[in-house]
Symmetry: C2
Subunit: 383 residues, 2 copies
């Protein structure tokens, strides 16, 4: 395996955009290319995480983006694994370079959903579930994650107040992120008073529907050195799956694919959870952050929901989690989310994260989940 | 790079199915697994070519299929590159094994579109074009390929009768393929009398909208030997792109991505066009077969349209092309098509193609195009 580095990153703001998916992701790619200083003609391909571009009447984003970048000969395609599309796209770009098939690749992701009303958008998201058994029977993602939260509460005695603290913490971080969708601090009271979406989850337990795009340039160590850019190494990369439908699993308060992917990625990196200085985890709902930290072994079962209140997951805590604001506050443009996590880790590891900088960040972990865990990718990055 | 083999194949029939995409592709994967004799627990992932499953209200096919196969821990995702989705999925499965990331992978593809009426299906297909400039202005794929045919006619003096001969030849082959969508011989007169779809292309110049799925198991040479299956080697693999919108290209009667991908794949295989004993090429319309044979260097510019009439591309000719019946007669379940080509090559190379067997087939080439060439993948297989 060859060493692979992230040598440049780009991102649009997350939120509401008039621009189409093809325009958003092209802009993010251009920013990443400029940041990396690479001659675009050296780029050998692009994997684009995207789930719903067809709702905009446009599939086959690959050649559109590569044509706009001025490198139409370089192949590109779309990768879809629901909300883990971005992490999956990053994984395959990594594989292509580590395996010797390319020296320089783009990995990118995009979503544009703000043209859809809330009911239609919720339906599109539900197509990522085991729709015949879940979505078609009325179980949208808020409902599925509510079942996860309810199970968790019953098993471990956690409360809605605990989850609210996770939202408060992530909004504190997002308020410092100029590209975040919701740059606003909130209080526990705000969360508790917000509209019930699917009990026990309320509006402020849920991430927003966001438009946005993110992109990274990956390259061999040799290319990074030749360009004189500060490399951030991809130390570990893994994907895993789990039973698609939540009701068929042994435990609805755990996502086994997170455990498996994290174990594999950390093993490849030669690291343990104790070596990780910061995490971007998939907090599509507050409960998801609590469960992810347990699934990946950062905290024992039943303790994840308390970490925000205890300060453990704050930027100055022992396990700084979602310094970007996470999906909760930074936003969740589905196909872009997993790539955006890599963008954040790179900025943090190079000390370029401005007001939300985590001190002494040397090893970061990105955790990207598709649906309720049917897909998961974990990447460990380091300097 | 490690040597990679196709060790098992499976396919549903192409045509109209009541079963959903998830069921179709699961069945094709089960057949491929059985054919390969592999213990399914050794399968490390699956790339699923698919473009339109969301029209069935189901995205995120990966974990659904892996759950149904009894191996939910193995990651899977969807790859979309319009009609080249299948070839792209095969490519990434190959990369993962050749690069040392896995020893055994599935590559599969599926489409289910028969629930859509013709206008809706044509619209969905058009989303694979540069929709803002092509589809939205009324240029569906029949229209775009008609422009290609018209350009070709003007440049080289070919006729509708020449193209009709390509349809006749492919239906002759498809009539011998028990899994083909249209198992019917047709005459030049049938083609000439058929309804005009987009002049000069008529109904019998066009492939049908098909449901169907195909799957292959890929593995290292060591795994193939340990199972005692006859290996078919992936000797060359390449993808390339070209300017997405046809009107922006220098020549509308050529697809540069086909040229580039074929050159790369043949070079990797250490072969020239003279070594290739049979081809499966992307004949979504009759004109596409003529142009593909020229793009890849099998015949000089302007001569491709005459090869069927001359007998050159018949099963007993010098360049046997689309012995399966091609997209034209075998059918075109978009995401499955590129995988189905690999299935056909493997059966031919092992002498298992029954009545449509091409004699002395040792090296085969599969050519899969997305849209009007924005994406192209070429694979060279050999025994």
């Amino acid at each position: 395996m060859r060493k692979v580095c992230v040598i440049g990153v780009g991102s649009t703001s997350y939120g509401k955009h008039e621009a189409t998916a093809r325009e958003l992701v092209t802009n993010a790619c251009l920013d990443a290319i400029q940041d990396s200083r690479i001659d675009p003609r050296k780029i050998e391909g692009n994997f684009i995480g995207n789930a719903f571009s067809i709702a905009e009447k446009q599939g086959h984003l690959g050649p559109l983006v590569m044509t706009a970048l001025g490198i139409p000969e370089a192949p590109a395609n779309t990768i879809e694994a629901a909300c883990a599309s971005g992490g999956s796209a990053f994984r395959e770009a990594y594989v292509n370079i580590a395996g010797g098939f390319a020296d320089v690749m783009l990995a990118s992701g995009v979503e544009h959903v703000s043209q859809l009303d809330t009911i239609t958008a919720t339906s599109y998201f539900a197509y990522g579930s085991d729709y015949a058994f879940e979505g078609a029977n009325g179980c949208s993602f808020p409902g599925l994650y509510a079942a996860m939260a309810r199970t968790y509460f019953q098993k471990y005695g956690a409360t809605e107040m605990d989850l609210a603290q996770i939202a408060v913490k992530n909004h504190e971080n997002g308020a410092l992120n100029p590209k975040a969708h919701i740059q606003k601090r909130i209080t526990v009271e705000d969360v508790m008073k917000s509209m019930v979406v699917a009990s026990p989850l309320k509006l402020y337990d849920a991430c927003p529907f966001s438009d946005g795009a993110a992109a990274v340039v990956l390259a061999t160590e040799e290319v990074a050195k030749s360009l004189g850019v500060e490399p951030v190494y991809v130390m570990g990369s893994a994907r895993a799956g789990t039973i698609a439908a939540m009701h068929e699993r042994v435990d609805m308060a755990a996502i086994p694919s997170s455990t498996l992917a994290a174990q594999k990625a950390l093993k490849q990196a030669g690291k343990t959870v104790k070596d990780v200085n910061l995490l971007e985890v998939h907090d599509c709902f507050t409960i998801a952050e609590a469960v992810a930290l347990e699934d990946m072994g950062f905290t024992p079962r039943g303790t994840g929901a308390k970490l925000a209140e205890q300060g453990v997951t704050r930027r100055d805590g022992k396990i700084p989690t979602n310094a970007s604001g996470g999906l909760k506050s930074k936003g969740h443009p589905v196909g872009a989310t997993g790539i955006g996590q890599i963008v954040e880790l790179r900025e943090q590891l190079l000390g370029r994260a401005g007001k939300r900088q985590v001190p002494n960040a040397r090893v970061g972990l990105a955790h990207n989940v598709g649906a309720t865990g049917g897909s998961c990718s974990v990447h460990v990055l380091g300097v």
